[in-house]
Amino acid sequence: MTLWRHEARLLLRQRLAMIALALLAVLTVAALGAGMAEVSRQHAAIAAIPAAQAEDIGAIAAWVDREKDAGSAAYYSFHPTWNAPSPLAFAALGMRDVSPYILRVRALGLEAQIYDGDTFNPELALPGRFDFAFVLVFLAPLFVIALCHDLVSGEREAGRWRTLAALPYGGAALWRRRSLLRLGLLSAAIGLPFALAAAMSGVSPGAILIVLLLVLAYLLFWVGLCALVGRLRWSSVANAATLAGLWLVLVLVLPTLGHVAINRAIPVNQGAEIALAQREAVNRAWDIPRAETMRRFYAGHPQWADSPPLETAFHYKWYFAFHQVGDESVAKQVRAYRHGLETRDEAARTLGWVLPSVGVQALLTRMARTDLTAQLAYRDAIRHFHRRLREFYYGYLFRDRPFGKADFERAPRFDAAP
């Protein structure tokens, strides 16, 4: 133990090391603060939904109640859905700045609505967010390099190496001790503020532990890399240049190359094609016999087939039926599109097994539920909710039941719980 105390004293007396550790802690705290502020903004936006929604629906209910037409109610009512940030979201904001976390849908064709984005400033999204994941993945390795690049070479250049190596406890164990000490202090500078912020945000102890282990493992990778480069017995300067070069390649260049390669290897038909096809299918209904649309609809949804036949006048049940048929006509493309996205994501995750930078980012965003998988899960939740919306309105439309003010209260509500 006393050896460790001596090493700690040796390190703590070095001004550069102390400044670096303090700076890393400050950056971590700032990133955690920024992430928590962003998450609380998102919570506030979600909390503001009911009031806005009540006002909006109230106004629609007021005039729909006069004619009690279920079709108008279904056509004009937007229903909110949201994807609340997970407790850990503050640590890795992932896609949450560019993918919508609030989306209002109507009982109309979903494929024309589900890909809508929210308002965001693209120039702000471009460089990415300053969050904990960024500090860990991008910045922490630079601090590891600053502290560990000259562990052995520095002693050699200072002329102390032989003195130390000639001592019984001055061999390989000494470098291990020094590396571990730096690893411990760097992990603490990142891990302690994180653990505190995570506990404040209500992250489960198990998840905190996993993230801490992840921090430790990622930093250990970089410490190990420093040790490997150190074995080449180059000068401190050469070590620093080599390690900074490796950082550039591992953290910036290879992920971008991987991005290009994955998008090339796994083509995804643009989502716009789904939207185009769905619009064509929906609008065609106006030009074909209405009975044909109804036949197709009833074939897929026999529970409504006993509805009274259409008369010459416009009836909303036909309108909603052709919207649903339109959605169903592109179901195959939707699946293919989704599959393509998942395959790309999968490929990136596989790359994460080889590239620690990508692996850490992937794991953090997965745990924080801010990745593509979470985005797709949110879309699934929207689809599920949309099904319930349709069922609800169809109960009025296909049974010709009046839709009064009280019925607005009965509309399904989005259940945010996954």
Binding site: G159, T163, G171
Partner: protein, 245 residues
């Protein structure tokens, strides 16, 4: 068996770096309480001998033992018996003399009692005002005193010195030599590698001249004058010329 093994025992040692044979059949033994000086030109193999004793370099052939321990097999056990001063004692400049000593003692597995350290500093002749000072401003002589003090505290049977007096002024050299003799009095086997014939003749019990990896001259001190310095100088000069040719 370990009880009776001499502190330093080298028999027919051969060391090669690639194709180059640095030590070639070197034999040397140093008893307790002795000072052995190893002289020789550049590349004669002086430093390699020390490195082999410290376990940095493995013997290609022959045997090396430090108090009966083969440093090639158990370097840590061998190093426990050795105190080593490199040519330039470089320590941590941002620590004080006492802190440096504590750190080195910790790495030697010894106690780091401040009172004992201060006592050793006094014995090594380090001025009292320097004890709590950072090492940044220390001269080579002062640094060596810190290192010697650590060696004294470790009470090891073997002290290896690499060019200890190069760069020291005559007064500091005399101080240092006195210190080495006091270490010898404690029963330590001292092996010093040096260019400095005069200094070696002052304190050594035995002077070996190393050339092309083997000992070519071996002179033991005798009588009140110990060594005939003039004769030694002549012999070494001839040997050096041979080496140059």
């Amino acid at each position: 068996m370990v009880e009776t093994a001499p502190p330093i025992l080298i028999e027919n040692l051969a060391v090669t770096y690639g194709d180059h044979r640095v030590l070639d059949g070197l034999s040397l033994s140093a008893p307790e309480g002795s000072v052995t000086a190893l002289l020789g030109g550049n590349g004669a193999g002086k430093s390699t001998t020390l490195s082999t004793l410290l376990g940095f370099v493995k013997a290609h052939a022959g045997a090396v033992s430090v108090c009966g321990v083969d440093p090639g097999v158990a370097p840590d056990a061998a190093r426990r018996q050795i105190a080593y001063l490199p040519e330039n004692v470089a320590l941590y400049e941002h620590l004080t003399a006492v802190e440096n000593a504590q750190y080195l003692l910790a790495l030697s597995g010894g106690k780091q009692d401040r009172a004992a350290i201060v006592e050793a500093f006094a014995a090594a002749g380090l001025q009292e005002r320097a004890w709590g000072q950072r090492l940044g401003a220390f001269s080579k002589g002062m640094r060596q005193k810190v290192a010697i003090a650590v060696a004294l505290l470790r009470e090891v049977p073997v002290l290896l010195l690499d060019e200890p007096t190069s760069g020291l002024d005559p007064r500091a050299t005399a101080d240092f030599n006195a210190l080495v003799l006091s270490v010898r009095e404690r029963g330590t086997a001292v092996l010093m590698v040096t260019h400095d014939l005069l200094s070696a003749a002052d304190i050594a019990d035995r002077i070996c001249f190393l050339e092309s990896g083997r000992i070519v001259e071996d002179v033991v001190a005798h009588g009140p004058d110990r060594f005939d310095v003039r004769a030694l100088h002549a012999r070494f000069a001839v040997a050096t010329q041979r080496l140059a040719a």
